[in-house]
Symmetry: C2
């Protein structure tokens, strides 16, 4: 079928892997540039930008080449312009209204996560299946039942869904969000969720990052032996 | 001395990038294999394993080659043996006692995240600077003040620290954890934290993943702009 990075979640991830890697680096550059601008650096070279992130300047220049912002030899990039260009490229030059489904501890933590609104991600709707939560408000935002998804999501112009429900209900809630018009899902529930063509999913599995850490800690402890399997 | 991937956080990330990518894939294989075993598949081919993850079987075989588990042509790998071999490689064949610093919403969510104990990550100590929280317990685990870090971390044999404090105190709390003997930090606080040689850091920036999602959603909406790939 379609040249397809939307067939399903797993497929999606890997066929656009290159894009994702470069998108990830653009996010890192953006964070670094904002810090540099705050410190008063109106100009920055690709070498200086790459250095703090340990990314070779050839890679930095390659990543930045498609942007509408060109550096000058010996002078570098205008920091503010480069920030703007990256924000445009990443789609951060606009607001992204988002709905959060599953108002537990993680949902509440994300709702209060200052990083989201700073980047234009505004949580404008909450959903939960718990009748004890429905009708109550968190930080001034009412919790709606799943039955009102379509109505609320259309009214609020929601495009992204943040899924913080148990894995047992993840697919059903994702289907509900997608049916209501959501075009992308950030999934915190363990396990794979399937989405139709045109709907993107990014899975967040916090255990993967803890496994990376364990692996690195183990690597750095030579006394344990690199391949000691005991 | 160790070959220089511990200088600091940023450096660390990129010089071991290849390892991290392959570690990430091993984590994916592990999840997929566990599902296959549950479904009754005692054997699995590299092609079948790669297919659901959209990873080419040549890459799968390359990733699995260093493991102490070899597939047989036409038969494949014994699923259970491969699970064990990956767990050993990732350092999941043991328990990793962890301390959590910062018992807010995110901290509580992680404390109740079932994925952690399933992978051997056991949160055995809690720290918070809020005098109103110190001395109380969450899920039977007492919240200690930072002043007791060294004592508690040594007593519990804690090796990993999970940092869910505000970014303003992240470096100080990380320094405390490291001083008390922690060898790896999973950092949820925005911003860079610096660690001495031999201490690993994995940063979790939830905004990065939401940015990836926004980028993908934008790509899949050709009507919005020039970057049409589909």
């Amino acid at each position: 079928m379609s040249g397809g990075h939307h067939k399903r979640n797993g497929t999606h991830y890997h066929t656009v892997h290159t894009s994702r890697a470069s998108v990830g680096r653009l996010s890192l550059y953006l964070r670094r540039l904002e810090a540099l601008l705050e410190e008063g650096h109106g100009r920055v070279s690709s070498a200086a930008l790459g250095e703090a992130l340990a990314i070779p300047d050839t890679q930095v220049r390659k990543d930045l080449a498609p942007l509408d912002c060109h550096g000058q030899p010996g002078i570098g990039y205008a920091t503010a312009d480069l920030i703007t260009a990256i924000r445009v490229r990443l789609g951060l030059d606009r607001e992204w209204p988002a709905a959060l489904a599953g108002v537990g501890n993680l949902g509440r933590a994300l709702l209060r996560y200052h990083g989201f609104p700073r980047r234009g991600f505004r949580i404008v709707a909450l959903f939960d299946s718990d009748p004890g939560k429905v009708g109550t408000a968190v930080d001034g935002l009412e919790i709606h039942p799943a039955s009102r998804m379509t109505e609320v999501i259309r009214r609020e112009g929601v495009e992204l869904g943040i899924l913080t429900v148990p894995s047992s209900s993840a697919q059903a809630v994702a289907d509900g969000l997608i049916g209501a018009g959501v075009r992308g899902i950030l999934n915190f529930a363990p396990g794979v969720i399937h989405t139709p063509a045109g709907v993107s999913v990014v899975n967040v599995d916090l255990t993967v990052q803890l496994e990376q850490l364990a692996f690195l800690v183990r690597l750095s402890a030579p006394e344990r032996g690199p391949a000691t399997t005991r």
